[in-house]
Amino acid sequence: MDYSQFLIMKQEIGLLAVFLIVFLADTFLPRREQGSIGVISCIFFAAFTVLGFVPGVVGEGMAFSDMYEATWPVINIKNILNVGVLIVMIQALRWADQDMVRIRRGEFYELLLVTLLGMYLMISARHFLLFVIGLETASLPLAAMVAFDKHRYESREAAVKYILTAVFSSAIFMMGISYVYALSGSLYFYDIAIAVWSESHSALLLCALAFVIAGIGFKLSLVPFHLWTADVYQGAPTPVTSYLSVISKGAAAFAFLAVLWQAFGTVYPQAWEWMLYALIILTITVGNLFAIRQKNMKRFLAFSSISQAGYIMLGIIAFNPMGMAALMFYVLVYIFSNLAAFGVIGAIENASGKVWMDDYKGLYRTNPRLAFTMMLAMFSLAGIPPFAGFFSKFFIFTGAIAQGTVAIYVLVLIALINTIISLYYYLLVVKAMFISQDDCVIAPFRSACSERFALWVCVAGILLLGVVSFVYNTLLEGTMYSF
């Protein structure tokens, strides 16, 4: 075996190095120095993130008889996820310093890095076995993270729900893979693509596809596989929720894209297009309608993120480089917008323990900056210009409509009408903070330095990512080049 192949997996190796550093620091640092573990992880991870963006450091290539692939979009979606993970890590610093968590904070960062490694493998896999390894590596440690507040009943309950769903969805997914194997006799994506070419309507292929889509659909919390989402998001500690809602979702979306396009791309119009149509319509609509009634901010964002996943799927259905670039850009913008929202929720929760929307009434008078950040996040999620969310929505719609069929126009119209529903509930938060006159229950407070820094980064992202066209242009050009 040629061991130099490992050098193609530079991002995975770098991530493992960061993991080892954190692990060694956690093991060998004396008790009173333990407080610096969080900062150490953030610093090393930041260095790793920056290195990923330096041109020439990470190269493209295939490894292990083409089981693993690093192309330009793959490398960059990992970079995008790194940015998000970095923000989550910084946001978690204050939370990790609490009494009940302090002693285990090293574990939190270690688990986080391991799940990220799993997602990397999912994204890069061009063979279903590697994909499953990635999927499991990403899922199981996450359950431990969800249960991190183990003294809290909700956290334990959420972890049980999460792990049962994860195992169940893996089982379904592997069922699908076994069918695929039966069809094609191989688990390589390109072998499958060739084998299913002529199989456009066989019942076995449709079953296989349905199982594969359902399996990943659980991870992405697409309706009707979303039932775990709200409870888990509500029960998990806020940094874990934000990690689940942006990083886990972004990685799963891109992996989904890779599986559908590369393994099943040859049967696109006949086999999975219509499944995805139904899923998208259901996901966007149901997510939106349920979000309207939520009073808990974390539950609220859970349903909002369900419907956002539906919009992300539009990039997959586009089936062209524009769709892929728009999907990556959407994930990037979504990371900044959603992390801004979760950053505010986390800051308020840490300071006052409040997580209900009614508690936010009059927030603008007591904590104007937090309220303003939250408003930007809501506007960006709703797709209001000049914030980044508008651009990402516009581009993902533009990418989808490139197909030009009547069906895609109808689908986009449904998605657009749903943006109005989503605007309604995002505005409810804005209304509570800015307009409602009740006495505010959240006293003025100064959030921690780390929280403020993370929020500033998010706000900068929301304001600049759209207006500064460089990011999207680079993504689109890069994807078109490597397509």
């Binding site: 524009m322 506007f379 000049p386 126009y409 307009i435 242009n473």
Partner: protein, 501 residues
């Protein structure tokens, strides 16, 4: 980029936003707002003079001062600007209303700074919309103008403001959902096979590559999308609630300028780019706007809240704008643009006066007020002038606008157009009914409440605001030819050749 004068219509509001952000006292805030809007007014008047000079010198491109800077290169999205007579008229209207609106909100409470920040953000969107000729940029600015409305009404409004703000925002965003689909659809048919797709209005127009089949789909999308903002029946219901709850300056800007975005967009995007479908489908929308015109006027007759009266009157007058645009001939179109100007100024004057009266009497119910002519003669006289402009008294702006519209629409010789023109004409009479009813009750009747006797007349900033608007209204009324010429040149090489009239 900065050598193009048009770009300053966006730069100045952005500088104002930055200035407001560092303001410390209310004096500074007022100074920034007034200086900025004066600069915008001066710029738009300079632009008018310069534009007429260029046209007189023989410039015959459809748009002047064109500039285009690449933004999202792979998608061919540009920040493209350019103006013709219609855009210039709209720019002047917007800057005047922003100026008078700043004066009218001299005493706005609380959070004066935030109020002006949102107001200026809204006007950034408005100005950006009128100078853009790139569909993407145009749409972006359009949405920028919509969202500050929610907070402006929600925080500083009165009455049932939560409901109105939400209704207004959602309905307008609903319109823009259709619009976005329409615009993306236009993009994908913007060039013949093999040529690069474009968002640029002029290039799309020149390419003429949207097939008739697609026009039948895209025209209603864009027309309805903009028509919601133009208060087209049955999508007008946001307008009365929204206007009634909004604070004075916002009502002025919204009824005066924002509703014009609808009419302008209907013409500039829907009809300009898809003339064949416009010609075929005009009758459907003609019926809807005809209903707007008459229904709005009748509704205004039975309202008792001053702002509701005006809001319904706006539905009627803005309906007339769309009605005239759909007549698809030069005369009616000229009338439509004049009606936009006229209605913008006149309704801004109305809303300013209502705000001033409400600020004194703390009621807008006409049943609880009376005899204001004796108490505050200055405001009362202004109100009468505004009323006359609204019901179309010669010498004021309303007369020339409506006259031109009806002459234009009567040029259609068929039964359908004739009947609808006559029906729409009736709205003039109904307008007279509700205007005179209010004037009689509010200004000349007996004083209803003796507390009102202590009220004072207009302050200097209120006088600045009203006098500016009255002078503008009278200017259009007395020199209609000037405005007609400004607008006319825009049409001669324009779309009516395609339609064949």
């Amino acid at each position: 980029m900065f050598s193009n004068p048009l770009i300053y219509f966006v730069v100045i509001p952005l500088v104002m936003l930055a200035g407001l952000a560092i303001c410390r006292s209310i004096g500074q805030i007022r100074a920034v707002a007034v200086t900025g809007s004066l600069a915008l007014t001066a710029l738009s008047i300079w632009l008018l003079v310069d534009y007429l000079g260029l046209r007189a010198a023989g410039a015959d491109a459809p748009m002047l001062y064109c500039g285009s800077w690449s933004w999202f290169e792979p998608l061919n999205i540009h920040l493209a600007v350019g103006v013709d007579g219609i855009s210039i008229a709209m720019l002047i209207l917007s800057s005047i209303i922003l100026l008078t609106g700043s004066f009218a909100s001299w005493k706005i409470e609380p959070n004066t700074k935030d109020f002006f920040l949102w107001l200026i953000l809204l006007s950034t969107g408005v100005f950006g919309f009128f100078i853009s000729i790139d569909l993407f940029t145009m749409f972006m600015f359009y949405e920028v103008a919509l969202i500050p409305m929610y907070l402006l009404i929600g925080v500083w409004g009165s009455g049932n403001k939560n409901y109105s703000a939400m209704k207004l925002t959602l309905m307008l965003m609903g319109g823009s959902a259709f619009l976005m689909l329409g615009l993306i659809g236009i993009f994908y048919h913007s060039a013949p096979e093999g040529m690069p797709l474009t968002w640029n209005l002029l290039e799309i127009r020149a390419n003429e590559s949207i097939s008739e089949g697609w026009q039948y789909f895209l025209f209603p999308m864009t027309f309805v999308g903009f028509g919601v903002l133009g208060a087209m029946f049955p999508f007008h219901t946001w307008s009365p609630d929204g206007h009634a709850s909004a604070p004075t300056a916002v009502s002025m800007l919204h009824a005066g300028v924002l509703m014009k975005l609808g009419g302008y967009g209907c013409f500039r995007v829907a009809i300009y780019l898809m003339p064949q479908a416009a010609n075929e489908l005009a009758w459907i929308f003609l019926i809807l706007t005809g209903i707007s015109v008459v229904y709005g006027a009748f509704s205004a007759c039975v309202q008792t809240d001053l702002k509701y009266i005006n809001a319904y009157s706006s539905v009627s007058h803005c309906g007339l704008v769309l009605f005239a645009i759909l007549m698809l001939n030069t005369t009616a179109m000229t009338g439509a643009i004049m009606q936009m100007l006229s209605h913008g100024l006149m309704t801004a004057l109305f809303f300013a006066l209502i705000g001033m009266i409400y600020g004194r009497t703390h009621t807008r119910d006409i049943r609880l007020m009376g005899g204001l002519m004796k108490i505050m003669p200055y405001l009362a006289v202004c109100y009468v002038i505004a009323g006359f402009a609204s019901l179309g008294l010669p010498g004021l702006s309303g007369f020339v606008a409506e006259m031109t519209i009806f002459i234009g629409s009567f040029q259609h010789a068929d039964m359908f157009h004739r009947v609808f023109t006559i029906v729409a004409c009736c709205s003039i009479v109904i307008t007279a009914v509700y205007i005179l009813r209010v004037v009689g009750k509010l200004l000349f009747g007996p004083v209803q409440d003796e507390h009102h006797l202590q009220l004072t007349d207009a302050t200097w900033w209120e006088r600045v605001s009203t006098v500016t608007l009255i002078v503008s209204v009278a200017a259009i009324g007395c020199f209609p030819n000037f405005f007609a010429d400004l607008i006319k040149f825009t049409f001669s090489p324009s779309i009516f050749a395609v339609i064949g009239q």
